[in-house]
Amino acid sequence: MTGAVTWGLVVSSLAVIVVRRRSLAIALVAAQSLGLGLYAIAQGSRTSTALAVAGTVLIAKALVLPALLLFTVRRARKERLIATEIPALGRLAISVAAALAVEQSIPRFGLAGAGVEHAAVGVLALGILTAVVRRAVLFQALGFLIAENGIYLTGLSLPGGLPVFIELGLVFDLVVIVSVAAAFAAKIHEQLGSGDSSLLEALRD
């Protein structure tokens, strides 16, 4: 795995935590999947059919899922600024600190290089952190995709890649989950007039 791919994933994940525009965040996540897909195809053409399949699946995912989320954004055009959101610099600081803490605490787990292991766990952590520090439900759905890209990075770094059945099943599940998340995002926007998840805090004991 090249350093450019892993750094690209980490930096674009951090960018999603910072950017304000939803369409830009969606484009960044699509670019992540596209980059991973192209890398897998390039590797697969030399070494493994499974990697080539993974690459094709990732590229399909890079096109379909962001398109679905863009459709949701378009249906809820008038997004108000979310007042409860932490400032961008604060979000970045929290995310970098938390991701570094997670990444530093993991032992080696058998991938080709320590750098890829750290990047995979870091991107997964940044996906979860996106959902924690961003208030808009659409950004939380993007967190799923970022976390899954961290998983794909791990899968692509395995010798021979992941079994094709798991690859395809994973994408099918992801399409279902993101479709359901998009439906929720649209319905929440319709009910609350905003995609602010902090408005969804009525259920407490």
Binding site: I106, P107, R108, F109, G110, L111, A120, V121, L124, G127, I128, A131, V137, Q140, G143, F144, A147, E148, G150, I151, T154, G155, L158, P159, G160, L162, P163, F165, I166, G169, L170, F172, D173, V176, I177, S179, V180, A181, A183, F184, K187, I188, Q191, L192, S197, L200, E201, A202, L203, D205
Partner: protein, 490 residues
Amino acid sequence: MTDVLLVAVPAVPLVGALLVRLPRTPGGADRMNLIGANISTVLALTASVVGFVHGARGLHGSWFVLDHAGACFLAVIAVVGWCSAMVSPTYLASAGKSLFTARRARAWYYTAFYLFWAALLALALVKNLGVAWLLIEATTGASALLVAYSGRRNALEAGWKYLVLTTFGLAVALLGILILFAGLAPHGGTLSTLDWQSIARHAGGLPHQTALFALILILVGLAAKIGWAPVHNWLPDAHSEAPPPVSALLSAALLPTVMLIAWRVVLTLGVAVPHHLADHLMLAFGLASLAIAVPFLWRPMAWKRLLAYSSLEHMGILALGIGFASPLATVGVIIHLAGHALAKSLGFYTAIPLARHDPSSAQRAPRGLARLSTPVAAGAGISLATLSGLPPSPLFFSELLILLGGIAAHQITSVSIAAVLMALGFLGLAHALIETLAGESHGHRWRSGRTVRLAGRLTVGLTLGLLALSVGAYLLADSHAGASLMRGIA
């Protein structure tokens, strides 16, 4: 022949999910639901019997393993699924607005319901950790829509919380599975590398650190879906906001079935980590869940929310039983699983007439039901009495077996803490039982409408099941069933 039967078990509800969309009238959809539920249940129960008849090692096929434990879980999912399917038309008739357009709401409900049920039935059978993960993730998509079915703001919040927390939890579990796969790659590097038998055979050769890291990630990730504390936040909200038949399926079938996967992970991968760390992790989840749940059982709470916290308590007890890892505790786990499923389903189904006659029960604890409706009071009373562990309920025997199993495993500290927490939980629910049945109530006696009659019929049927389980607990305690169950799982 068995292969065909086991393929049909998840395939029939899967086809049912498509067929329920065909009828153009609500009555037609209900009839299709009735047919689909009956066939699915007969097939699943037949498969379950086949699983019991075969030896402890069970049946192994290209994609399935049907052992004694799997057969128990399959029977529970079949019974709870059937009851929920039967109750659904009554719920839908009084449901009002929903997340979907009025014309297609019922078709969407049944589609999501059958997809959810099919995934659960398949989950009890699969022999591969990777495929199990995919099925667990698939349950999330279908059940999140069902949780938010009413379309109310609170239901949307609950559904969204459920979707986000469980999806991220499962992402963490998947990382653990990939780490395990990487470690086991020298033994194949194909899908079958993640078969339970393959993991059990080769896990001993994994480096301790890799095995431990994978185990922790998988269990913590699955814990988010099972609803074990401290990653349980979605559970009370989803259970209380979902339609009652779905709440029953979530609490009585989904949580235990995902726990079966966690159990198989502990038994297969646990051997690769030193000092019984896998068992200790289960004990930690169990005690944490009990400790978090018990204070809520002491508070006056809306009916379904009380049942939700009781689910947290009982998942904790089941985790303890698995963690004690002794034959006696294992028998306790199976009895507890089945008893909890029947009692909890009955509790959730009772919520239908409650919501119909006392809509405020969605916000505050019901009181004085005995004066208002005998069938509803009987359903609520038997459900709460069983869940509290009052003798002679099967949960009394199962909790006793789990604690005795813990003593047999020399886990005296954990047993002592668990016994105190269980006693406190019992007192909390016993108080809720008295208030629910005999507390001060206002209003006239409820007339015996469709929902009340349904509660009465369900109470009779499920109570007979609970009594049979109590007898079963008495007989199984002195048998070799525990050892047989443990051998089969791994």
